[in-house]
């Protein structure tokens, strides 16, 4: 099946090795990614949406319309892009008045949003279109000894009536993704807590990050597994900065879901970019024989 990938600003510019992991692993499970020209920022669901919601809808609709013209669904690989593109797509499909408003603006550049495709996070597409059984069949090096502390992040799941991905209070999608790689998903007290990134007061978000990291450690997970480059930024680089500030060593390596799949499909640590992470990943190494 063919999909149009939307990698977003953060992954494209700062964490390209996640993009590499997505491209390589999705090819193995039978997803064909078709790159198209002209995408911009989704735009950002926090700051840009706070700037002007109608501008936010419009730029998002332009991105979706580009994919509609080619005729394949979009897959997103970042929770932020999912929040914007999925929410805008699902809202515009239902709200005709808003759709007309947005289309009036798009007309100025000769474009039109029609609502003919879906936008879903790549892990949702893997579950719904490919199936985790098929994913498990592509695993040549099951990560049997790796315990992954699950971090869902907010925007894959919520608002649940818009996103329609999973039960926002008892989700299983990421657990099953991790299980397909042979690794063991570990739920912990703060599995569903937000990374706090959008909060303006640093102390509030850093306390959230500390609690999440501690909760993962207390449950003896070897690392943290997630689906969003922004959450990753908050927990990898953020962990180092916080550690220095608080004079503490958390040592919770963070892994992006498709890196995990890449390792399980036999890719090297370098191929999926794990060597680029700030927090050392010795425990992941132990679980993944050379």
């Amino acid at each position: 099946m063919k999909y149009i990938p939307f990698f977003g600003c953060m992954m494209t510019t700062k964490y390209p090795w996640f993009e590499a992991a997505v491209r390589k692993t999705t090819a193995v499970i039978g997803m064909e990614l078709v790159d198209i020209e002209g995408f911009t920022c989704c735009p950002d669901p926090i700051y840009f949406q706070a700037y002007d919601k109608i501008d936010w809808y419009t730029i998002a609709a332009r991105n979706i319309a580009l994919a509609e013209a080619v005729g394949h669904d979009i897959i997103t690989t970042c929770s932020g892009c999912t929040a914007t593109l999925s929410e805008v797509n699902l809202t515009l499909k239902k709200d005709m008045e808003l759709k007309d408003k947005v289309n009036k603006r798009l007309k100025k550049i000769g474009m039109k949003y029609n609502g003919t495709i879906n936008v879903r996070h790549a892990v949702t597409v893997v579950r719904d279109d490919i199936g985790f059984d098929r994913v498990a069949e592509t695993v040549t090096r099951p990560l049997n000894h790796l315990k992954v502390g699950v971090h869902y992040g907010c925007h894959l799941l919520k608002p649940s009536h818009v996103m329609n991905v999973d039960d926002p209070d008892h989700p299983t999608i990421l657990d099953r993704f991790i299980e397909a790689t042979g690794a063991k998903p570990i739920h912990h007290e703060k599995t569903l807590l937000c990374c706090g990134r959008a909060c303006m007061t640093d102390s509030i978000s850093s306390n959230m990050v500390v609690d999440i990291l501690e909760s993962i450690k207390a449950n003896n997970a070897d690392c943290m597994g997630l689906i969003c480059p922004t959450c990753f930024d908050e927990f990898d680089t953020g962990q180092i900065i916080l550690g220095r500030k608080l004079k503490r060593n958390f040592s919770v390596p963070v892994i992006y879901s498709f890196q995990l799949l890449g390792l399980a499909q036999g890719m090297t640590l370098e191929e999926v970019g794990l060597n680029m992470h700030k927090v050392k990943f010795d425990k992941i190494l132990e679980a993944v024989p050379a």
Binding site: C9, M10, T12, T13, K14, P16, W17, E19, A20, R23, D35, E37, G38, F39, T40, C41, P43, D44, P45, I46, Y47, F48, Q49, A50, Y51, D52, K53, I54, D55, Y57, T58, I59, R62, A83, R105, L106, K108, I109, C154, H155, K158, P159, S160, P168, D169, L193, C194, G196, R197, A198, C199, M200, T201, I204, S205, N207, M208, G273
Partner: protein, 159 residues
């Protein structure tokens, strides 16, 4: 409390808020507080409270809500309150509407302008650095394409 000190409703503010996208939703709030218990910004700050924000919106307490230091900027955008609200108020959407109003009235914090300007001027929120170019080559990824800045400029800001 003397009668003079009783909070009077500022209807003008309500009208201003009603004019922003989703800004009408606060009118459905019946102050039950279901949005508070699982709000992480509430749990971690002890002061941020979506019910109180909604109450202030209903009363029209513009000074408290519309400023770059307003408590609304502590919302983490987690959408949990949307899940919990029995009235479909979507407190997060009211908070976003308040943020939009701040922006219109020149009361948004600098970061909002910094990031939105970046999208409008370069098409993205981050920057393409020499490391970006080098690493994309290293991982055999397609080069970064042009971001359609001209088109963005044409479709935003019009009423």
């Amino acid at each position: 409390m003397s009668v003079e000190n009783i909070q009077k409703i500022n209807f003008e503010f309500r009208e201003k808020l009603n004019s922003v996208a989703e800004g009408f939703r606060h009118n459905f709030c019946y102050q039950c507080g279901a949005c508070v218990g699982d709000c992480p910004a509430n749990n971690y700050s002890g002061t941020f409270n979506p019910r109180i924000i909604l109450l202030k919106a209903l009363l029209g307490m513009e000074k408290d809500l519309i400023s770059p230091d307003s408590e609304i900027w502590n919302c983490t955008n987690c959408y949990t309150c949307w899940e919990r609200c029995p009235q479909d108020v979507r407190p997060i959407d009211v908070i976003i509407a308040l943020k939009n109003l701040c922006q219109r009235l020149g009361q948004a914090p600098d970061i909002i302008h910094k990031i939105s300007n970046s999208v409008m001027e370069s098409g993205i929120t981050t920057t393409v650095t020499s490391a970006t170019v080098r690493r994309r080559e290293q991982y055999n990824l397609p080069p970064v394409r042009d971001y359609a800045v001209d088109e963005i400029k044409k479709i935003i800001g019009s009423k």
